[in-house]
């Protein structure tokens, strides 16, 4: 059964993606990521000396500041900050610069559904722009479940509100390895099969969840190709931001 999406996409179609890096001058790294009408601007200030009181000083720490478009900072923003922080901590190599803080500041430019995945993608691109050492990249996607059991990818805000449940998934980037045979495996499973973060809203059965996971994984392979191509070093002069 076909559900008609308001903008004419089919359930497996993502909105047009666009990513620009190096958009800000003062920040050490910055990126703007847009998925359809949802647009997020992320800036990274590279390792600053010192960690906060309750952080482990033997490792680098990541600090996330989420700025909503309008209004005061509330619980929703704090939740986003926490999810983003934990996700980014798992992709950064924390042992390289101990006792430092890397700040990631996220500014919501426009929210039209799938805001947290958009922000995660933007932060990841900004971290690369700043040159922070990462283990691998992360791609985030939102899958929603309609009442009929149909799984749709990348919903708009109206669709998100109508759905029975939706889940934000963050998966590691697909691996492009120089050595064809060796691929890092954890306990026999491929690393590409791993899942970094999953945040669900609403009620969904286990089968539906696994179904969403599969669909999300298929979509992210294309998304990570886009990300990889976009992150190729630009030939135009990238002036040093250290000053």
């Amino acid at each position: 059964m076909e559900i008609d999406r308001a903008d004419g996409r089919n359930p497996n179609q993502l909105r047009p993606l666009s990513c620009s890096r190096g958009v800000l001058n003062r920040a050490h790294g910055s990126a703007s990521w847009a998925q359809g009408n949802t647009q997020v601007l992320a800036a990274v200030y590279g390792p600053k000396a010192g960690t906060k009181k309750n952080e482990n000083p033997e490792k680098a720490s990541v600090e996330v500041i989420w700025k909503p478009k309008t209004g005061q900072i509330g619980k929703q923003e704090k939740e986003y900050e926490m999810v983003l922080k934990r996700t980014l901590q798992s992709i950064c190599i924390l042992t390289i610069h101990p006792n430092t803080t890397t700040s990631v500041i996220v500014q919501v430019v426009h929210d039209d559904g799938a805001l947290l995945p958009c922000a995660i993608n933007a932060s990841c691109a900004a971290l690369v722009d700043a040159g922070i050492p990462l283990k691998h990249l992360a791609v985030a996607i939102c899958c929603c479940l309609a009442d009929s059991g149909l799984v749709m990818l990348d919903p708009t805000k109206l669709e998100e509100e109508k759905m029975k449940a939706f889940v934000y998934l963050v998966l590691p980037n697909s691996i492009l390895s120089v050595l064809p045979e060796e691929s890092s495996s954890v306990k026999g499973e491929q690393m590409e099969q791993g899942l970094i973060t999953s945040v669900t809203h609403g009620v969904m059965s286990v089968d539906d969840y696994l179904h969403c996971l599969e669909r999300g994984r298929a979509a992210t392979s294309k998304m990570s190709d886009f990300l990889r191509r976009n992150l190729q070093p630009q030939l135009s002069s990238d002036s040093s931001k250290a000053g």
């Binding site: 993606l17 620009s20 003062r26 601007l41």
Partner: protein, 420 residues
Amino acid sequence: MEQRLANTWRMTVNEKKFIESALVSGLRVDGRNLYDYRKLSINFGKEDGSAEVHLGQTRVMGIATSQLVQPYRDRPNEGTLSIFTEFSPMADPSFEPGRPGEFAVELGRVIDRGLRESRAVDTESLCVLAGKLVWAIRIDLHILDNGGNLVDAANVAALAALSTFRRPECSLGGENGQEVIVHPPEAREPLPLIIHHLPIAVTFAFFSDESTLVVDPTHQEEAVMAGRMTATLNTNGDICAIQKAGGEGVPQSVIMHCLRIAATKAADITVKIRDTVEAYNTERALQKIKRHSAPVALDVSGTVPNVRKNQVKSEDQREVSGSVGTQVEKLKPMNERKNSDQSNDIEETSKFSKKQKESQSKKSTQQASPKGSAEEMKAISPATESAKIASQTHGEKTLKDAVKPKHKRKKKAPSAVDGS
């Protein structure tokens, strides 16, 4: 404590001396003349009332929103305007999240005085029910990048956001006329604010050598300067606000000179703001018209049955699915990707979405008979989305329409405008 000191940016003595000695000879580090502004560009976001201003390297985003609230006791007939400035930590490593520093508070006050106390926005028109409900306009200014001269950039962002903001139309109903019904934007076209004049802020920086003054200081010049002054004035010759908070003392003649320069600069910036706002408004009107679109003859062969299916399917079709052969950067995991390289730049995607709208509107006319499309042109005037929906369903029945008597079709025009 040492960590915070380690993280602050300090200007080296060499840089400081270089800037100062260059200024003595009338040269600025970025090659401008002493009284020149940097390049000002204003871009608008997807919603009404959101604007992003680039002044050289400084970047500020302004967003205007509205809400119905109770008015202040001493002003029961007037709406309110409030300005919130956010010094986002992304703008400068020294901006810390949390409580605004004294500079942030000062900037907020200067813009507030220039905009609100000079009564640039007509607040009496914001009254809905005297003493009970008025519109409160809230402007959020997010400083995204600190390249110097935040006051001027933030001011322009606030003005641009206000000029393109549209508030929902509301009407009184109910038994005593005491109930307020707020119409959603699809039902009735939202209204712009009434802005009497545009107060423009112009900032001057003074240096320790008395005769040197500079307009629109950059971030490095601000670190070197000895004093600053901001003059907010409009093109009617009114001075809305002057702010000179401490710093180096300057003689009166210099202040008068500054005000004269500020008057010319304000005129330039006002023209620029007005032009960009007008361009935005025409484009906005055009976008609404394009959905009903112009009768353009197109190659219909082979794609007609698909297009008909699309029209019947969706009402608010902005992105056409790949089967109709336009250039779309959707990533389909099952099908192959098309042209996603071109989506690397945000501007490109907006061009593409325009193309999509154009091609989609062209398709909608393929369905309509020539008479039907002429009818749609009539129904355009304040083309609301419901009018568009009505015409799309109108489009669905076009084959029948060709047969319908003329007087019935004319009735559709006023009903579409009312949005019933």
